[in-house]
Symmetry: C2
Subunit: 410 residues, 2 copies
C-alpha cells in the first residue's frame, strides 16, 4: 500500500537550506538571479543531487533541466513536476526552489521505498521564472509551451547588454534538446502561496484550482473646474459625482462574484486638487481579477457599463483604457482531483484556492494537464528576504505532491 | 411719486470707467491694492465727487470713508451703503467699486430730483476688503463691526514689512473718527455676483438673502497595503470601500438640502498609489456649504456620521479635521424685503440668491440690519482682469439700490 508512503521532511528541509546558501543575502534571503554564477551553482547542485538519486538529466535549448526517473513503461509520457531556482535580487529561500526540490524529494522517496511507477517521473527546473534580470517572467516555461519563440528569449538582454543566449552558453546550460513540449501525462507544481489565505484560514495545504484572469484599467473623467461656493450642484460637471455612482456598483458587482472576485482601486487623483474647486479631472485605476472566465468577462463588461453609464448620466466625458492584462488558467480536472485525493490520503487540513499570481504552471497548463499545490507562507510575504515557510508545511505539501504524482503515474 | 425715480446710468458707468483708469492694467483690469498710491488716488477721486455732490466726509481710524447726505431729521440713524475700492493685483473694474459708486449715484440721483429723506444716507468705502496686500480680507468692516481689534489691523504688514498704520498715515487716510459702528438704520451693498447663477438664469438682479455657512474638512482613512491578487475582498482593509459607502450618502444628503447645499470633493489621494495594491491610506477633502444654519449644521453632522459609520463598518480607522470655517449670514428680513420691493417697483427680472463668497456686508450684518443686491458678471468671473458687467445690469442694480434705500430712509 503506497498510501502510507511519506517523504523525508528533514532531507527536503536540509536541501532547501543548502540551496539557500547559494546567493545568500545578509538579511536571510537569496539573490540568485537567472543565468548568473549563483544560478549555475544552484543548478549544478540540483543536477548533482538528481544524478546521485539515479536520474537521467536532460537540458533543453533554453536551459530548462529535466531530471528523469524511469517508469516501468518508458514509452509512456512522463509525469513532470517542478518550478524554478532563480530568485529576485532580494528574494527568499522558498519561492520556486520549494517546487524544484519537492520534485526531487518525491523521486528520492520512491527510491527509498523501491516504489515503481508505470509512467516516468521528471523533476524540472524552468529557466528565468522571475524575469528580473531578463525582463520576461516565466520565460523558460513559455518557450517550452510554445508561447514565446526561442530566438526572442535568446535575444533578451540584461542591463549590461548580455543576452540570454550568451549567458546560457557561459554557464553551460544551453542544452541540446528541443525546447518544446512533447507528450506529458500530467504536470504538477508545488509552491508557497505568496498570499495570506492559507495562513488566515489555518490550512496546511491549498488545492489550487486555477489562476485568476487579471487586468488593470485606467479611467479618466473630465469635469469642469468651478468654485465650490457660488456654483450650484445642479449645473456642475463633477467627476466625483460620477465616482459616487459607479464605485458602489462596482463593489456590489465584486460581491456578486464573491468570494473569488478581486477589485482594487489603487490610484486616484484629482486636478487641480484644490479643496474649494470642483475637479477638472479625475483619474483612477482599477485592477479586476477572477479565476473563472465567464465571471471575469462579466466583471469587465459590468465595469465598462457602470462607469460609462454613470459618466453619461453625470455629463462627465470618460475614457477607459486597459493597460495590462494576463489571461487566467483553470487547472486540469484530473490533476486537481489527483491533488484532492492526495490530500484525503495524507489527511492534512486543506482548502481549495485560486492563485493570485502567475507561475510556470500557467504556461505548462496551456499545453499539458496541470495542477498546483500551495503551502502557507508567513504573512503572505514573498519577493522579500523575510519570505518564510514552516518545516511542517514544507513536508506536508511535498507529501501531497508525492501522492498526486503517484495517482497520475500509476 | 418717488417710484418713477431712476438713477443716471451713463454717469455711473462713466465713473466706473474713470475709477478703472486708476491702477489700470494692460489687460483691461485694475491693480489698486489697499493703501497704495493707487488706492489713495481712488479714494481722493471718490471724496472729490462726494464733496461736489454736497456730502460731508468722515474718515475713521482704520480709513473707512463715510460720505453723508443729510436727512430731514439728523438725529436719526443713517442708511449706509457701500463696498470697497481696493482690488486684487490682477483684479477687475467692478468688484467692490460698483457698490461704492452705486452708493454715490443714489445720492446724486436724490440731489438731481430734490428728494429729501427722513434718515441721512451715507456712501461708504471700507478699507482693505481684498486682503491681498495685508493678509486679512474685509479688514475695515471687521474693525468697524468690532470683529477685529483696531491695533491688530494696524499691525498687519505687507511683504515690505510696512504696517497698515504706517500706510494709512502715509496716504492720509487715518481718520480721527472712532472705527466702531454707531446706530445705523439699515445697510446695503450692491455687488457683482462673482458666480454664474444670474447669468445662467438670465436674471438682471439678485435679491441676496444671505451668505453661505462654509467649512473645509480633511478626511484621512487608514487601509492596509495588500496585493490586489491574492488578498480576498473579505479580509481586506480597503479605504476605497469605505469611500464607496459614504460618497453617495453625502451626495444624497446634499440633494436633501438642495438647491442651496454645496458639497465639493476637491482633493483625493491614495498611498502608495500603486494600481495593484490596496491603498494603505486614502486622504480627501470635503468643502461643505449651506446658507441656512440648521441645514448647514445637519450637513456637518451627517458628514461626520456617514463617514464615521462607513469607516467603522469597513474596519478602516478614520480621522476627520475641520481646517477652515466661515460662519454664514442671513440678511435682515426688513432689508431683504426692501430689496424685494425695490425690484417690484423697478420691474427687473430678478431671483433670490445666496452669496457663495464673503463680503463687507457679512461683517456689517453682524451688528446692523443689512441686505445685498447682486448683478450678473460675465461667465461668473471675478478676481480676474477679464471681470466684466453689462451697463444695463450696472444701471438696474443701482436703481434697485436706490429704491431699497428710499424705502428704509423714508
Amino acid at each position: 500500500m503506497t498510501g502510507q508512503l511519506r517523504i523525508n521532511g528533514e532531507r527536503l528541509w536540509a536541501r532547501l537550506m543548502a540551496m539557500g546558501e547559494i546567493g545568500a543575502t545578509p538579511a536571510g534571503g537569496c539573490n540568485r538571479q537567472a543565468l548568473t554564477d549563483e544560478d549555475k551553482a544552484g543548478r549544478d547542485l540540483f543536477v548533482k543531487w538528481c544524478r546521485e538519486a539515479g536520474c537521467k538529466i536532460r537540458v533543453d535549448a533554453i536551459g530548462n533541466v529535466f531530471a528523469r526517473r524511469s517508469g516501468t513503461d518508458e514509452s509512456l509520457p512522463p509525469v513532470i513536476t517542478g518550478s524554478h531556482l532563480d530568485t529576485q535580487p532580494t528574494g527568499g529561500k522558498f519561492d520556486g526552489i520549494y517546487g524544484v526540490l519537492a520534485g526531487l524529494e518525491v523521486i528520492e522517496t520512491l527510491n527509498d521505498h523501491d516504489v515503481e511507477t508505470l509512467h516516468p517521473i521528471e523533476a524540472v527546473v524552468w529557466t528565468n521564472e522571475e524575469g528580473c534580470r531578463f525582463d520576461t517572467a516565466m520565460m523558460g516555461s513559455a518557450v517550452w509551451a510554445g508561447a514565446m519563440p526561442l530566438q526572442d528569449a535568446y535575444a533578451l538582454t540584461d542591463r549590461d547588454n548580455k543576452t540570454v543566449a550568451e549567458e546560457l552558453t557561459r554557464i553551460d546550460y544551453q542544452g541540446t534538446h528541443t525546447a518544446y513540449f512533447g507528450p506529458v501525462k500530467a504536470a504538477f507544481e508545488a509552491h508557497i502561496e505568496q498570499g495570506p489565505i492559507l495562513e488566515a484560514e489555518q490550512k496546511t495545504v491549498g488545492v489550487v484550482t486555477g489562476v485568476q484572469h487579471m487586468s488593470r484599467h485606467r479611467i479618466v473623467i473630465e469635469g469642469k473646474e468651478t468654485h465650490a461656493g457660488p456654483t450650484p450642484m445642479s449645473i456642475r460637471q463633477d467627476p466625483m459625482l460620477a465616482l459616487a455612482d459607479f464605485l458602489p456598483r462596482l463593489y456590489a458587482m465584486a460581491e456578486q462574484h464573491a468570494p473569488d472576485a478581486r477589485l482594487t482601486f489603487g490610484y486616484i487623483h484629482t486636478l487641480p486638487g484644490s479643496s474649494n474647486t470642483v475637479p477638472g479631472q479625475l483619474e483612477l485605476t482599477v485592477d479586476i481579477r477572477h479565476p473563472q472566465k465567464a465571471a471575469y468577462d462579466a466583471m469587465i463588461a459590468g465595469y465598462q457599463e457602470y462607469v460609462q453609464q454613470a459618466c453619461d448620466e453625470r455629463g462627465t466625458p470618460v475614457s477607459m483604457e486597459c493597460f495590462w492584462e494576463a489571461p487566467g488558467v483553470e487547472f486540469n480536472a484530473d490533476c486537481v482531483n489527483a491533488v484532492r485525493k492526495a490530500v484525503a490520503t495524507t489527511g492534512y487540513d486543506s482548502m481549495e484556492i485560486v492563485s493570485g499570481a502567475g507561475h510556470d504552471a500557467c504556461n505548462v497548463a496551456a499545453v499539458v494537464p496541470t495542477g498546483m499545490i500551495f503551502i502557507p507562507c508567513k504573512d503572505g510575504l514573498s519577493h522579500n528576504e523575510a519570505e518564510s515557510a514552516e518545516p511542517e508545511h514544507v513536508e506536508a505539501g511535498c507529501n501531497v505532491l508525492l501522492h498526486a504524482i503517484l495517482e497520475r503515474a500509476e
